[in-house]
Symmetry: D3
Subunit: 210 residues, 6 copies
Amino acid sequence: MGIHTYFRSLNDLERIIRTPGKFKFEEHSVSAHSWKVVQYAKTLADIEELNGVPINWKKLYEITSSHDYGEIFIGDIKTPVKHSSLELRSMLQQVEEGMIRHFIEENIPEEFQGIFRRQLREGKDGSLEGLILEVADKMDQVYEAFAELQRGNTEKEFVLMYRHALIKIKNIDLHCVRYFLGHILPDIIEESQISPIDIKGITEEALAQQ
Amino acid sequence: MGIHTYFRSLNDLERIIRTPGKFKFEEHSVSAHSWKVVQYAKTLADIEELNGVPINWKKLYEITSSHDYGEIFIGDIKTPVKHSSLELRSMLQQVEEGMIRHFIEENIPEEFQGIFRRQLREGKDGSLEGLILEVADKMDQVYEAFAELQRGNTEKEFVLMYRHALIKIKNIDLHCVRYFLGHILPDIIEESQISPIDIKGITEEALAQQ
Amino acid sequence: MGIHTYFRSLNDLERIIRTPGKFKFEEHSVSAHSWKVVQYAKTLADIEELNGVPINWKKLYEITSSHDYGEIFIGDIKTPVKHSSLELRSMLQQVEEGMIRHFIEENIPEEFQGIFRRQLREGKDGSLEGLILEVADKMDQVYEAFAELQRGNTEKEFVLMYRHALIKIKNIDLHCVRYFLGHILPDIIEESQISPIDIKGITEEALAQQ
Amino acid sequence: MGIHTYFRSLNDLERIIRTPGKFKFEEHSVSAHSWKVVQYAKTLADIEELNGVPINWKKLYEITSSHDYGEIFIGDIKTPVKHSSLELRSMLQQVEEGMIRHFIEENIPEEFQGIFRRQLREGKDGSLEGLILEVADKMDQVYEAFAELQRGNTEKEFVLMYRHALIKIKNIDLHCVRYFLGHILPDIIEESQISPIDIKGITEEALAQQ
Amino acid sequence: MGIHTYFRSLNDLERIIRTPGKFKFEEHSVSAHSWKVVQYAKTLADIEELNGVPINWKKLYEITSSHDYGEIFIGDIKTPVKHSSLELRSMLQQVEEGMIRHFIEENIPEEFQGIFRRQLREGKDGSLEGLILEVADKMDQVYEAFAELQRGNTEKEFVLMYRHALIKIKNIDLHCVRYFLGHILPDIIEESQISPIDIKGITEEALAQQ
Amino acid sequence: MGIHTYFRSLNDLERIIRTPGKFKFEEHSVSAHSWKVVQYAKTLADIEELNGVPINWKKLYEITSSHDYGEIFIGDIKTPVKHSSLELRSMLQQVEEGMIRHFIEENIPEEFQGIFRRQLREGKDGSLEGLILEVADKMDQVYEAFAELQRGNTEKEFVLMYRHALIKIKNIDLHCVRYFLGHILPDIIEESQISPIDIKGITEEALAQQ
């Protein structure tokens, strides 16, 4: 078949759960993660533009929306596995690329093959758009880990995820990273220090209303 | 707070389920739907470009990725309700717009308010990008309804959803619609006619392998 | 078809989730909410009877058990939307009533149409039974919000839900409301102040058992 | 504590699933089942009244809404176990009644204890209201089993559940049973014979629309 | 049919949830519980062997892996019900055994019936292997209850479950129990006293990284 | 910490779902799969013993119960990835073994390290017990795929899974494999050909009962 095979396959990413077995409060599908990355990246690019940096929106659109499509073929391989050796990492990447190439050849009509090859390649190159994707992807790890830690999940894996993502982000030299560090991260910290809701107080205040 | 409030709110759309109570095989979150619309729209726009039509990728990015963000404020109002009278529909749209405006004023720093107002407005205007969004949005209804009907869900609501979405799509005059009708829809139909798997046959074939 | 269509439709309310995207600990279906309202209302009416007030049990039965049936037709519209303007609210109510009327005409045999029209109308009129329904409905919001807040969900929406429901309840002049404020609410508050379980203490006590 | 303990406990029945491990398409909580029984019983009683039979609505309200509350204490004991010997059945019933008695004594204020004892006793006595409860309870087994069988679940347990429930219902001599057998059951059968949706046909019809 | 009926039935235990309605953070299927008991028992037996006590591994394998298979027939009967009287308990056990006997006679080929009768009998006899099963089964109650209590579930049922399981374990005179009390339980207690994660601190440390 | 860290980690395998995104009717956790493999292997070994072949039950217990524990460290890597090249496969195995070694060194007290190293190594060696594990593991793929295909899931991945598992099994020369092919597989095939339930027929038969 043709592009239908590709469109239909998108549905499967809603059933692939990120870091299975660890999230105790809210689980996240690869689809929902992908959409949030698209959204963060849009605002990050807006910040760059506000600072006078031109954005290639077509490229940014392509690489952010497809950046985890390859998980359909290779499944959820844990980050420590991927990073355990440079050799293994590059071999896994070759396998993923081979499977994507094979999928395109088998299913995508010839006139679209070039487009799909470009869209489904690894997007995290050194370009501005690739860096924004990197920041947006890590930002979702920050948000995912934060939501668990804040609610009392003491799983060490989320401390590591949060910490590594932050270190990765802060070392990227972009206007939007500076904005994140200066204006967004402080709000995250502030939220982490909210006291539990005082139910007794709210009740008394409500009963005192006229 | 600031943009953090907006980023954190994205998470809630993963817990809002489309057409609750009707999907019997696979449910879909608003996040996953939004991501699929982003993906369909990208390929539809590629088809337009292959036919020589220029695309405003920044605009397409903005309107597809945010097109259902407003559901955070107004919830899941059923299509027949929205369409029961023009007056009600426009009133609901005004309420949604008012809530989005209020959210932006309360949370988004002034220098970004213009950007957010543009991104979170209704994207289905008469422009090429607006029409592509309309097609992509309906295409997901086609795929969602198809997946239920094909597996034996006889719920009338999905027949209507599938049928209305198809009628809406076919009346939009675009290259990508012609491609969809000529090359993608036939594959959907063909898939609807696949016979059940012959388990006995596969077993015998497997046992006969050397 | 006939009453079968109505009976079968009841099942769909188990898949409609209240306030989707907000409950982080336990979600609630419209069916389960409806059953709890039926149960609260029964005890509230018992309190009225103990105080010498006569109850129309048939009416109370009808209006409590069916009070959210209309959500099958209109979906889950958020409270702030419904209340954003009197005009919108009355228009939404007209649409819901029109859809219920249409459903009854299409599906319910003529000899039952009067009964269904009475049962599926809005039950929150100014009568004693209508007021008890109002209290019971708000009481479930108190319990739903309380269960989230107590476990550490700091979502502002639950503070508002809890507070508004309490204010609504306390302004209704009934024996059962006075009982709720004087005897039930204090137990809720007391429970909100229970300290976390002292696992070390329990362990030591258990090990010291003969 | 007092009635608060009872109100809060209602929530637990939303997490107790009926016949766990068997439903493959849609699971049902005890809460949702209880609500559907309340709804069926209301219409069954309406049919009796239309035939000139007087109903004790207060009693019907009490016994239908609370009929499975005892599952909080004893859990989900499979029907074949309960019925394996008269002696075991009566012993289990004594245990359940003992636990309910104990709960009432521990938690319910003295002035309400009589009411709660009456409401939480076994409602399926030989009275008209008790018989209507019996019919409504079995009717939900018919609907639950039907929904699984119709979608292709070939589990023998549902054939037995459907068949036993029907036999139980048909042997109860009430106007509403005659109505069920004559007007509702035929619609169930008719629905069981609906052919799968013809997706190709719908597509062609939709594309032919102007 | 034959052994296929038994193999296929194993699947149903993945849909039977333990203590339904009580776990608020993570639910557990009977399958997953059974597997954890198999795993604990293996290590407990290793500890016995390290102390020079010989283990009948075949027997231990048989009784741990099948110890809750009977729940397929009788469902989840709450512990307080089972223990409410010795008479009821023995009657329930007779019913369960009768159902297992019947299942074996109906489905298991004659040459395997002896094996299945031995494997599916109650394994908690006074033998070393039976005692290890008892410890392992209670140990999972300790872990299940601990995980809820530690996260803030204040449900009394888990305090009781944790406490009773501990008392049961400590009264069994085995090397592995002494190891559990001396080396594993202290780690559980220590973990219960971990403070919430200091998100602000981690953030500052991460940002200070080079 | 010590063995507590290992015991507590077992819980995570209940949240890791096998082949995520593909099962449309019933999902399976790694825990439930592991337990079913333990159960199949027990009966397969019983068949060997009935044929006079001696079994090392301790070894069989160890390798079947722990055979997928490593997924805690490496996640769910799809079979085609693992098998795409011998080099990648062996590298992934080295990484998994390294992580297990590291876990043991960090957490397991020295006197148990040898035992854990033996138990958590790859169990599918050429020994009788290793072959039984291989058969039991593939048998669960047969059952998992069969349950989906029989209910109408036409996903090609399950046809491949079913077929490859069968071919793998039939090429292992064991008494229990011959028993499976001769007595269990025919029952699976027979079940695949059961017609849908005739609801009308059952209804008529039930109504005709006295």
